[in-house]
Symmetry: D2
Amino acid sequence: MNTLGHLFKLTTFGESHGAAIGGVVDGCPSQLKLDFDFIEKELLRRKTAQSSTSSQRQEPDKIEWLSGLLDGVTLGTPIAFIVRNVDAKSADYEALKDIYRPSHADFTYEQKYGIRDWRGGGRASARTTLPIVVAGAIAKQLLDEKGIRISAGVTCIGDAEQARKEGDTVGGIVECRIVGTPAGLGEPVFGKFSAELAHAMFSLPAVKGFEIGDGFALAKMRGSEANDTFINMDARLWDAGLQDARSGTEDLRICTATNHSGGIQGGITNGNDVVFRVAFKPIPSISKPQQTVNRAGEACTIAIEGRHDVCALPRAVVLVEALAAMVTLDLVMMAKQLSF
Amino acid sequence: MNTLGHLFKLTTFGESHGAAIGGVVDGCPSQLKLDFDFIEKELLRRKTAQSSTSSQRQEPDKIEWLSGLLDGVTLGTPIAFIVRNVDAKSADYEALKDIYRPSHADFTYEQKYGIRDWRGGGRASARTTLPIVVAGAIAKQLLDEKGIRISAGVTCIGDAEQARKEGDTVGGIVECRIVGTPAGLGEPVFGKFSAELAHAMFSLPAVKGFEIGDGFALAKMRGSEANDTFINMDARLWDAGLQDARSGTEDLRICTATNHSGGIQGGITNGNDVVFRVAFKPIPSISKPQQTVNRAGEACTIAIEGRHDVCALPRAVVLVEALAAMVTLDLVMMAKQLSF
Amino acid sequence: MNTLGHLFKLTTFGESHGAAIGGVVDGCPSQLKLDFDFIEKELLRRKTAQSSTSSQRQEPDKIEWLSGLLDGVTLGTPIAFIVRNVDAKSADYEALKDIYRPSHADFTYEQKYGIRDWRGGGRASARTTLPIVVAGAIAKQLLDEKGIRISAGVTCIGDAEQARKEGDTVGGIVECRIVGTPAGLGEPVFGKFSAELAHAMFSLPAVKGFEIGDGFALAKMRGSEANDTFINMDARLWDAGLQDARSGTEDLRICTATNHSGGIQGGITNGNDVVFRVAFKPIPSISKPQQTVNRAGEACTIAIEGRHDVCALPRAVVLVEALAAMVTLDLVMMAKQLSF
Amino acid sequence: MNTLGHLFKLTTFGESHGAAIGGVVDGCPSQLKLDFDFIEKELLRRKTAQSSTSSQRQEPDKIEWLSGLLDGVTLGTPIAFIVRNVDAKSADYEALKDIYRPSHADFTYEQKYGIRDWRGGGRASARTTLPIVVAGAIAKQLLDEKGIRISAGVTCIGDAEQARKEGDTVGGIVECRIVGTPAGLGEPVFGKFSAELAHAMFSLPAVKGFEIGDGFALAKMRGSEANDTFINMDARLWDAGLQDARSGTEDLRICTATNHSGGIQGGITNGNDVVFRVAFKPIPSISKPQQTVNRAGEACTIAIEGRHDVCALPRAVVLVEALAAMVTLDLVMMAKQLSF
């Protein structure tokens, strides 16, 4: 269950304060010259301390590539990579060893496994999302060749600077748009494009909501408002747009006039932009004192000091994009078998 | 991609107006005496024409059990079952053969497969969710033995009767609660309880949003508001509750005082109720005239007559419950391997 | 675990004397006009009573197609089919209800599941291989379009007629040849063409051995004898052969001069014929009296009467071919993703 | 397709002369104190240069543990490990860059991927089996707690020393025995214990045959010779044996008097020893000159110098055991879900 994808697959491993975190990408097409600069840039987007809302941990995030490459070109074999945990101050967490931090995974991991790595969140740490950025960057490079582009941004966020002063944190919403998807991606029933996206997004820490197109707002609409009518787009407008990525041919340029559906109907892409939103709860590590219990069940007070973000949203943007890229690429590859 | 689950698996098949729809449940424990009455009752909850907001199609929904049973007791082998499509008036759909109904799957299926079953929605029809109810009923029966119970209800719905008069439809929201889950269910990273639920719910037609716990509202909260503090519950209160299902032992009764997290932290259940909501868009089949195009790309007007619900929500309740039961059972079975 | 394949998948269900046996083919490309005559012919090849070495059960083996087809053309959705068990004389088996037949699956199923369908072998019956023939016939039809052909035959068999007189049975060996495979099929490491074939063949009842190319004989050879040297075939010879299916282009016609490897090197096809052999043990149902024990552990004597083959080999040929076709098609589909 | 297993899973990565080879074990139960000494001993059994029949490469094979452990105890999260390729003399292989070595994977990998790592066999090198030994050692440790033990040995081998003098190589057969398996392991139909074993064994380089129990010899037997009669073992004999691992209880001690079936009937273990044999072809790297072609299709002569074993069999023993352990553990874990 540490693997995502059907044909383009990422397996991740690592705890926050273990020796390293890393991933194995299995199923990447061969003969791709990896764009290492792009991967580094994507990692920088995720890096802590990038802004005033993020924490102070200085991680070099230096990737060691272990396999699957010859002179930077993919061999078709598994691409393994790791990043060492060099700045891991386990001692900071010693005091938390026997205490269950509210809304963290301490208690649930211990209930599940009978043991937990108490150093910095262990496997549940946001640091373990790093391999997702790497795999996502590879997926983006492949999608780019097909004219499929993915971009996300923060559309809703609390007052981070005020929260910081109060020792508190804020949540927010990331909106993502996939442009250039051909019609016909996604598997009906249990592999819908929307279902695969939702599944991937809920793999990120702190995600509590997902909606596609107009999402929850659709629940309050009438069918006549929510439906996206099909139109045969004027050739000149079509040519001005991303016509390659659309499903139309020279003679047929069908698309939807509106996009309440977020580009997905019956679980399958219709050629319009795929648009979705992901809701993140506030980071649970706050320096404000909180009530909780320790392993013995005794009540105690906790004030979480140390390096923590006020808001995960700035980092989350690249993670949302990365997972969207992996899901899209995976479903593009699934769709290829149809043209037998 | 027509299969859901890892250990308790359902494969479904069938089109709305084909010979039959059905499913294969693989991985059901042996020696379970199936409660056929309960399964029938669950199917009745899904049945059309059950209320004033639903359509008029009279389906007997008579299950034929094909395998996996000896005198009504499970053998541990695949349980296959079908329901014949007896009331299938394909002719009703003849006029729609070459027209893409707005916000239906007609266009996307045709783009994906180069062919589609135009009779009644084919594989994309809501009728094909019937096997989910059957598998869900079996899962519920097994969960019931463990003290885990699932119930859903409609929490938001448009003005159905007014919409009907206007030839329109409405959407809504279903809220579901899983009571009695032990702490420790769900796999971290890519198999989180929340991710598995989200994936399953998006398998239902018309689902456009999913949130767990306080969901999207959490995006606007502070960490200090959103966090669920742990408490050691008083023994008397504990005993009055569902103590068997909680994670505590005689001496340790840890739970959360609030439940903003919806029973899931770090992707794993904490013993509190799992609470989630699913947003359904309005049914796209409306009798109001709509603009669209036909296969040749020519603009045309469509008014969808025939038997259609004004609102899918009354039917959706049992579907949401069924999928929640399947996911929960699957993750209970996954968790068993840990106690090696 | 009742599913075979990664992209072209067959899920089977059914017990020998239950209501029906059947299968669901998921992943079949759309727009294929199924050759029903061919499927019927393949089923006839498997049918009992086809020769003097086979048993007398008269099964009509009439397929009911339940889904995935429109006017006989595949929709890309799951193709479900069943065959009813019309000639099921359960009473014949009543006497065997509490007795473990030697080398049958009675004891092991009961140990596994705590229950077993004692009527005619239940899920372990050879009758349950019927869906494999159907799925294999579909796979053959698709492979045929690519110039890939599969044929098997019996290469070793005991003296069946003498064994029949003595109330005994015989085993044998089936050899199979896949002609026209392009080079490059099969996944390295855990998805080798040979490994996938071996796995599939051991899914058949009574299979106890599998070898590819010169197989066990290679264990006694020197490297210099066992190696297949590469040659650049003369253009005229090449043209006379199945040049389309070979890996060469107009200018490059590399193949192996010998075929000790059975067409597979490093787990991947080299363009030469894939050749393998499958060893079947004798059918364990013999009318000669045997010692065994009943469920209470008491010693008893058993003489298995009723309709049973003297030798499974004549039936096994089409099963070996069917599984070989399914594996080959599945790996052809897996290979498509590489040409991203 | 670089992953083996359903619940206890190993993903491997790495090329012979890349930065490192390694693996990720996902699904290992938590709270196991790893026996690192045992793992080292198992790696030594595989190590090259261990005997006169093996090659001269001096690899330290030092494992770096990257994740999944806290103070040497498993956390339940993925256990990743790598071994650096320190003694990788790529230059030795420069001459082979454009030549297809007979019966190696050079040609097939290049046909599949359009690129290959020509340095030392790349992904097809026997060196990439190292992670299997590590995962197998972990599986053995877990099985040992259940009284299940696995041991293999070479039962047939050519005259290695004579072959070495002649610049040639030899093949051989490894026989393996799994003692202490409870009855009831293995899934019927497509997950038979025998099928899973066969699949795993064919994942090893150079494997060309697999048989279980009497294997190919069964093809020439009569049913009356091949059948294993059940007996109720005398209590004293039973007590002297591995009674815990057998399927009997105090009152019921059913086992088979003979073991032609190799411990598996209907694909499921019967409690007797599981016995199987694996045929290995001779190593294809011989120093004797051979005819072959280069990438341009031109005929050339090749004499493979460098460090190569005369026979892979001594190394293969621990690999066969390791895979047998992984398969057995995986099926033990699969069987747990039945006792819901």
